[in-house]
Chain length 369, copies 2
């Protein structure tokens, strides 16, 4: 770093690393393109055709900034969830909203609690604002609400993060358990309930949405079940005072006009969403079957991916990921032991899963030698 | 604010106000739609048809996250400017990049220098990270490089902001003057040269791009001349060390996949850009003529808008803006005296300017009574 730059002290301490290297970057490094893109929990089933049409119809209007209030989308979401629009903040994906929330809440040295090996981008934001991360281990393959709460009390945490269903393991907690966790959130602490995959989970996974409790904020997205990851549309649901606080710091004109229109159309197309949910279920079953055929253990998933226990350590799973990549199949794996004994395979169309089915035994063989 | 929220001390001090109320919000408040959208310096001439097509073609692929490195776009920009891609950071519009830059550089209490009445969104970011804004007045209708530099020395500023051409007045400095300013930037200070409108300015307004100086970072955008405001694509050009520092804090998967494709196509369509530049010039002339017909004084503009001196104070100009709005014509005005004696009218297609020409005399008459 040139001496002329006077970055903040905090910024000088941060690495220039990224939470995830993109598949395009891996392709450029390897010089070959992936044939099956099953690593980023994107939805290869794509968005609703009505959402595609809405975005295409909006493209000529892209000379206009988007409505900074996302009024139409917020109102449609409010109607969808039968809540007040004042409880909804639309933003540039959950990633963007998490960053803003951490900025609002976390001063340098403030405590934040998450699970070891949970969402790296959340950790990135916490470190990026100087927060101190305290982690608790998973209980088996699930996040552990009781230990998260206990750690929050112990550290006087301002934020607790939990994803339901969980990423990268795909497990979920039932609504009653999440409700008990919310009840137990200590005074002065806020629970972030990341529900990125909730549409794909069993119906008893989501507590009723009643955003009157200032101790919980829920995050939802059009990136997963709705198949619009590249459009960057997420939303937070919470107490109106908390939701309004985003207006202090957010990039008011940051939303994409096509994406707003696409999300609005996607939300309205419930038949398509139902179809995707059914296809994801079939896809999960197929990934599990492929794992079992290879004598690996699939972990039951409530999301649009399946974590497959490769039966050895993280080094072995990493070799499997690498060997799959060499064979044109992009998958990822958890970052932290013991979850990193797994590879994580996203659901997708049958053709992509067939490529995975063909590549996996070869990749395992290479990884074992 | 509910007592349960433990926002940071800084966040509690910030207002929940917005730098700009969007035209859609004004329409909702008034209950009528604008017939001529001439207030946000958007380009009513629209983006290149090739850019529209590229975005439409990409819409079905929106299930994939965008390449977080914006590799193709950065390389095309590097080629366009004949510089190294390592000197270019692509982000979600200049607004997004300014926020990240302030975050990297400004701790609470750090000094930042700008002109009184320059870009409010920059001020919003500085306040949002706790920086202390020091302003100098415009020199006539232009920003004042010498006073900006002097104020930076006086306050040990970390950042100086200047836009060339300027918004909201539309004036510009010649390249030599900007180069002299860059030379004079004090040690430990960084000049932000916001060139959002540079494609529309005379050729002698832009210094050669040679991003080897760690004391200046230039901001460019696809929102203005390229007509893609709603796509959120901007880029910073600077010293590679500074550019790389954005990787410490940016939302790596924040770019929209359609927008990346659209910007790439827009950049390649130089004929269309040339056509827009010609149309903007004609449009500026027409706005100036309309002003003169109404015995108002147009300020010569190097951007895609014209500031019109209404000859009285800010209260009067505000009434003119309001009266134009009632007649379906959306324009804005500068926020700070004495620039706020003006209204600011964006360039646009002939039909929109005709609506402005019809509405202006009536609006002036109402504003005067």
């Amino acid at each position: 770093m040139t001496d002329d730059l006077r970055l903040t002290h905090l910024a000088t301490t941060l690495p220039s690393t990224v939470p995830f290297v993109g598949p395009e970057a891996i392709e450029r490094l390897s010089g070959t393109l992936f044939d099956a893109r099953l690593g980023a929990n994107e939805s290869g089933f794509g968005p609703s055709p009505l959402a595609i049409k809405a975005m295409q119809d909006t493209a000529p209007d892209i000379w206009m900034y988007a409505d900074p209030e996302s009024y139409d989308l917020r109102n449609a979401l409010a109607s969808h969830h039968d809540i007040d629009p004042a409880s909804i903040m639309v933003g540039e994906g959950i990633d963007g909203l998490l960053g803003l929330l951490v900025r609002l809440m976390v001063d340098e040295g403030d405590s934040v609690v998450t699970s070891a090996g949970a969402y790296p981008t959340f950790d990135y934001h916490v470190r990026g604002f100087g927060g101190t991360l305290h982690t608790v281990p998973y209980a088996g393959d699930s996040e552990d609400p009781a230990r998260l709460i206990a750690k929050a009390k112990e550290t006087d945490a301002k934020l607790i993060y939990i994803a339901n269903p969980d990423n990268p393991m795909g497990t979920f907690h039932k609504a009653q358990e999440i409700e008990r966790m919310i009840e137990a959130v200590p005074d002065g602490c806020l629970l972030i309930l990341d529900e990125a995959y909730i549409e794909l989970a069993p119906e008893d996974a989501a507590p009723a949405i009643a955003p009157n409790n200032p101790r919980v904020i829920r995050m939802r997205t059009f990136s997963k079940a709705y198949g619009m990851a590249g459009a960057r549309v997420g939303y937070a649901v919470g107490h109106p005072d908390l939701v309004n606080a985003f207006n202090k710091v957010r990039n008011h004109f940051g939303m994409n006009r096509m994406s707003q229109a696409g999300a609005l159309a996607a939300l309205a197309d419930e038949a398509y969403l139902g179809d995707v949910i059914a296809r994801v279920q079939k896809s999960r079953d197929r990934i599990a079957a492929i794992a079992l055929e290879n004598r690996l253990c699939p972990i039951p998933s409530a999301a649009n991916f399946v974590a497959i226990d490769c039966g050895q350590d993280g080094d072995f799973a990493k070799r499997v990921v690498t060997e799959l990549g060499k064979r044109g199949v992009f998958v990822r794996m958890p970052f932290v032991a013991p979850q990193n004994r797994c590879i994580r395979v996203s659901c997708g169309p049958a053709a992509a899963l067939t490529l995975f089915a063909v590549a996996l035994p070869k990749a395992l063989k290479s990884a074992r030698t």
